[in-house]
């Protein structure tokens, strides 16, 4: 009986240890460059349904949602309330992102998204994520759009807004 409890404690400790490994090491493709979306730890990805639920839960604290892709894509459709923060694969886009968040509390929940291309090929989401982390933001999530913003957000019936 005593040994069974020891086993349970050991298992709990193991799970706890796994959960407390720094985010950067969990679910991250080994050796993926920071320009790649694959460098974003899996635990920092937010599924579309989770963001939609968060945005529609009245009591929930709303995140700052930033689109880090091209303006043409943003103008066609974006998540209501999301700000355009520029394509993070370019120095100009990265500066725009930097300027947008520079004055914010580092505890702010920020959700970034792009969806210009399939996740593994997106040039913007990785640089945006790492820039925000470098700036000291502790609560950054990347909306996981596996195929594109169209396929994984708009065409699933989640709300969109258009315009500037």
């Amino acid at each position: 009986m005593r040994f069974r409890w020891i086993g349970r404690i050991a298992a709990t400790a193991g799970v706890t240890l796994l959960l407390t490994i720094p985010g950067g090491a969990k679910g991250q493709a080994p050796g993926a460059p920071q320009s790649s979306a694959l460098s974003i730890p899996t635990v920092q990805r937010m599924p579309p349904q989770d963001l939609n639920r968060l945005l529609h839960t009245r009591e929930a604290e709303k995140p700052l949602v930033l689109q880090v892709g091209s303006r043409v894509m943003y103008q066609q459709a974006h998540i209501p309330g999301a700000d355009y923060a520029g394509p993070a694969s370019t120095p100009e886009g990265l500066k725009l992102l930097h300027d947008r968040v520079a004055q914010l509390n580092r505890e702010t929940l920020i959700v970034i998204y792009c969806g210009c291309c399939p996740w593994a090929k997106c040039p913007n989401i990785g640089p945006a994520y790492h820039e925000l982390r470098r700036m000291g933001f502790k609560n950054v999530k990347a909306l996981y759009l596996e195929n594109s913003f169209g396929a994984d957000w708009a065409n699933r019936g989640y709300p969109v807004a258009t315009g500037q």
């Binding site: 091209s70 043409v72 459709a77 594109s148 969109v160």
Partner: protein, 185 residues
């Protein structure tokens, strides 16, 4: 005993009612959390519809007018310089233009970039010699929302959209569909 039996007889009805209530609540929660909006971009497919007309000034200064290509099979490709899969496809499209052009193929590339300069640079590097023009949100909306790249349409000689390919696709599949369309008269 009788009481017990009759009570048991009521239970399945109550159980069904409870299950129905749970299901209703579940559906309500799902609707509240998920598809509660009418996405303007969950547009119907353009398949078998007339391809939306457009005319633009091309990167070379010439006119890129879809209507002028009626009678040809048009491969209309939406792309951008920051789209890696696009850069794999486009040299192949250029090769197809050379190979199948005499049989009636016309490739058109629409860049969804914000700026023209990187588009010109990449077009020169990839030696793209088919008509290229800049797209915008309006053109994207005409085509049902170009909200992910690449997107390629095959438009028949009659101006009707015959195939649509989104994201990373099998180029052999596009070529097979393309050659079948070229064979149609």
């Amino acid at each position: 005993m009788q009481l017990g039996n009759s009570w048991r007889g009521v239970r399945p009805v109550a159980g069904r009612a409870l299950r129905g209530l749970i299901l209703t609540c579940f559906l309500f929660v799902c609707l509240a959390a998920g598809g509660n909006s009418t996405s303007a971009l969950a547009a119907p497919s353009l398949l078998n519809q007339k391809a939306p007309e457009f005319a633009r000034t091309g990167l070379d200064g010439g006119r890129v007018d879809l209507a002028t290509y009626r009678g040809k099979v048009v491969l209309l490709n939406f792309w951008a310089t920051w789209c890696a899969p696009c850069q794999v496809e486009m040299p192949v499209f250029a090769a197809w233009q050379r190979r199948y052009g005499p049989r009636g193929l016309q490739v058109i590339g629409i860049s969804m970039d914000d700026e023209t300069a990187p588009v010109r640079r990449l077009a020169a590097r990839l030696k793209l010699d088919y008509p290229l023009a800049m797209g915008d949100a309006r053109l994207g909306k005409q085509y049902g929302g170009v909200l992910g790249l690449p997107i390629t349409y095959l438009i028949g000689r009659d101006g009707v959209v015959r195939a649509e390919f989104e994201g990373e696709t099998n180029l052999k599949a596009i070529e097979a569909r393309l050659t079948a369309l070229l064979a149609e008269r």
